[in-house]
């Protein structure tokens, strides 16, 4: 019904012809300009907000990345590519990139993998299934800051829950606060704990909406469970997997609250420093907004490339 956008001039001409005595109601014939202005009026506030607070800063960010601006100074001096040269040459860049990569791959991979496994297990008539679904989903609605504070105590090396459990089975507790590798494990675990329910619920919904006849056909063909999973189930879940891979990845690359609350990018300087946290640290703690903008620009480019690759890979027709 919405497809008649072509030939608007002609339509206006037609409608504004001589008024018929028992014609269509007057509102319809009052012309398109009225409809256009209403649309403009309804859209304007939202568009202005998005342009001023999303698109403008995105572009401004690129400009700032070529300056030596500190967030409070009135002027920013152009410095050419020196921020970029510094970023690519700096020692901590590798560490930040590898932290970001480990955190992102682990959170996306594990929450999607576990989410799917759990969804398959619960895609049967089991008692208490709906309760379990609610329980697993609940952490997703809690604020990341609150989850972060809670899990900082859960992982407290002296008096935390993890220590208590490990001690009971006779395992030595690693120092989650001081050892960079374990600190990264701690924030990764916490984030997966918080977001697992999202992948799980979406996979479960997709499984319940799948076509039963394909399952039956596979069974009649005597397909092994593995073949059934690979050849029947996964292809049907493809759109869901695609959707999840993009949304889960985008949100886990952006994690700030949990890291800020639990480790502040530490220990030992940059043990859990990710790109997002580096943007914050450089801009607002080290007061090097120009350099922070550089990291933000690099991060945006990486995200853009990753998303384009994901779309390409998933759009490829299957054999």
């Amino acid at each position: 019904m919405q497809s008649t956008t072509s030939g608007t001039g002609l339509a206006v001409g037609e409608r504004s012809g001589p008024p018929e005595p028992v014609g269509p109601p007057p509102r319809r014939s009052s012309g398109r300009t009225w409809e256009w202005s209403l649309a403009g009026l309804l859209l304007a506030p939202n568009l202005i907000l998005l342009i001023v607070f999303t698109y403008r800063p995105l572009l401004d960010n690129i400009r700032l990345s070529f300056t030596d601006w500190n967030i409070s100074a009135p002027v920013a001096n152009p410095v050419g590519f020196s921020n970029y040269i510094e970023w690519f040459g700096r020692e901590d860049t590798r560490k930040v990139l590898s932290n970001t990569l480990i955190f992102t791959v682990a959170t996306v991979g594990i929450s999607m993998g576990l989410g799917l496994a759990l969804a398959m297990l619960l895609d049967q008539r089991l008692r208490g299934r709906n309760i379990v679904r609610s329980v697993v989903f609940a952490p997703f609605v809690i604020s990341g800051a609150a989850v972060g504070v809670a899990f900082q105590f859960v992982f407290d090396p002296s008096f935390g829950l993890v220590r208590d459990l490990l001690t009971r089975i006779g395992v030595a507790v690693p120092d989650f606060y001081q050892r960079p590798g374990w600190a990264l494990f701690m924030v990764t675990f916490t984030y997966i704990w918080k977001t697992l329910g999202y992948s799980f619920v979406i996979y479960l919904a997709a499984l319940q909406g799948r076509r039963a006849d394909l399952d039956e056909a596979a069974e009649i063909d005597g397909a092994s469970p593995w073949a059934h999973f690979r050849k029947v189930l996964l292809p049907q879940l493809r759109p869901t997997t695609f959707f999840l891979s993009i949304t889960v990845l985008l949100s886990s690359v952006q994690v700030f609250d949990i890291i800020n609350v639990m480790t502040r990018g530490g220990p030992v300087g940059n043990g859990t420093m990710t790109l997002v946290y580096q943007v914050y640290r450089e801009t607002f703690v080290n007061l090097r907004a120009g350099y922070g903008a550089t990291v933000a620009t690099v991060m945006f480019l990486i995200l853009l490339v990753v998303t384009i690759v994901q779309v390409r890979v998933m759009d490829r027709p299957q054999t």
């Binding site: 019904m1 309804l42 939202n46 800051a145 504070v149 704990w193 919904a205 949304t247």
Partner: protein, 308 residues
């Protein structure tokens, strides 16, 4: 893509008692036909038990800790039940820090921001689905593409702008930059486009103007989606962290999650009791909301999967 429309629907249909019996029998029949072994059932229950433990035990742990006396927190091995239980930590956290201020700020920010976003989202979606104007496709892309721009990239420039306006530590400084709606517009537009054309045409022929059409016809037919959109907005704004964190220095405007950080900075590792009490209080409102309205909320939070 077409198959994902049903699953989201099925998510919220399960617990309806009146239809349940019939559904269960039907579903049972379908599942009996598919391969299903006792081993799968056992694995299902084991998986359920494990995942519930992993989710619930940490929550239990922080609630228990929040009810302990200080000396009972710092012992090894840990006490799994508070003995004796006390509400001192709650008293402490609500009186020693301006907890009620943070709560009030959270409520102000969430209510104003959610209402703004819901109104703007509905109006934009209405224009983008039921009004005809040149460049509609382009405008839609501009709105949707904003989803791809992480907040974290825009904060530097926005911070400078808002600071220049003198809006740091003000509610407008927190609310206005967050008020643009991309996802909600997308969600509501899809909903409006899915409404039956005949009804809308009939209303138009009856002489309903565009706003009357929206208020009397389109919105009443879109309640479930509107409720889902509203809930997801409320949850998201309640949990908003980075921007309020940058905008607020103290209890004048800091919402609960930011207040929790300030509390943690002061007490942190040395005084877990009040910190855990504050954490529990910060989690509680949204958890209660979730328990009461979980069907609609899950629908809203997973609604993006409908069209991917």
């Amino acid at each position: 893509m077409s198959t994902t429309a049903t699953p989201v629907g099925s998510v919220d249909e399960a617990p309806e008692p009146s239809r349940r019996r019939g559904r269960r029998r039907l579903a049972h029949g379908a599942e009996a036909a598919s391969h299903r072994s006792p081993a799968m059932t056992v694995a299902g229950y084991v998986g359920m038990l494990l995942v519930v433990l992993v989710v619930a035990v940490p929550l239990f742990w922080i609630v228990v800790t929040s009810l302990k006396h200080r000396q009972d927190i710092y012992v090894q091995p840990a006490q799994w039940l508070p003995d004796p239980a006390t509400t001192n930590n709650y008293h402490d956290v609500t009186t020693r820090i301006p907890f009620l201020r943070y709560l009030r700020n959270s409520v102000i920010i969430t209510v104003v921001l959610s209402l703004t976003k819901i109104v703007l989202g509905v109006l934009s979606a209405y224009a983008l689905s039921l009004l005809r104007f040149p460049g509609r496709g382009v405008v839609f892309v501009v709105v949707i593409a904003a989803l791809m721009v992480p907040n974290q990239i825009t904060v530097i420039s926005n911070y400078a702008l808002v600071a220049q306006l003198g809006w740091r530590n003000t509610f407008q400084g927190i609310i206005i930059p967050l008020a643009g709606v991309a996802f909600g517009t997308f969600l509501m537009r899809n909903q409006f486009l899915s409404l039956p054309t005949e009804i809308i045409e009939a209303a138009r022929l009856d002489g309903a103007g565009p706003l009357k059409l929206l208020w009397r016809v389109v919105l009443p037919m879109s309640w479930p989606t509107l409720v889902a959109f509203s809930l997801i907005t409320v949850v998201n704004e309640w949990n908003e962290y980075l921007w309020p964190f940058l905008m607020s220095d103290d209890e004048r405007t800091a919402p609960l999650p930011v207040g929790l950080t300030l509390l943690q900075n002061n007490d942190g590792v040395t005084n877990w009791g009040p910190v855990m009490a504050g954490t529990v209080l910060a989690m509680l409102p949204v958890l209660v909301l979730f328990l009461v309205l979980q069907r609609q909320m899950i629908k809203g939070l997973t609604a993006g999967a409908v069209k991917s």
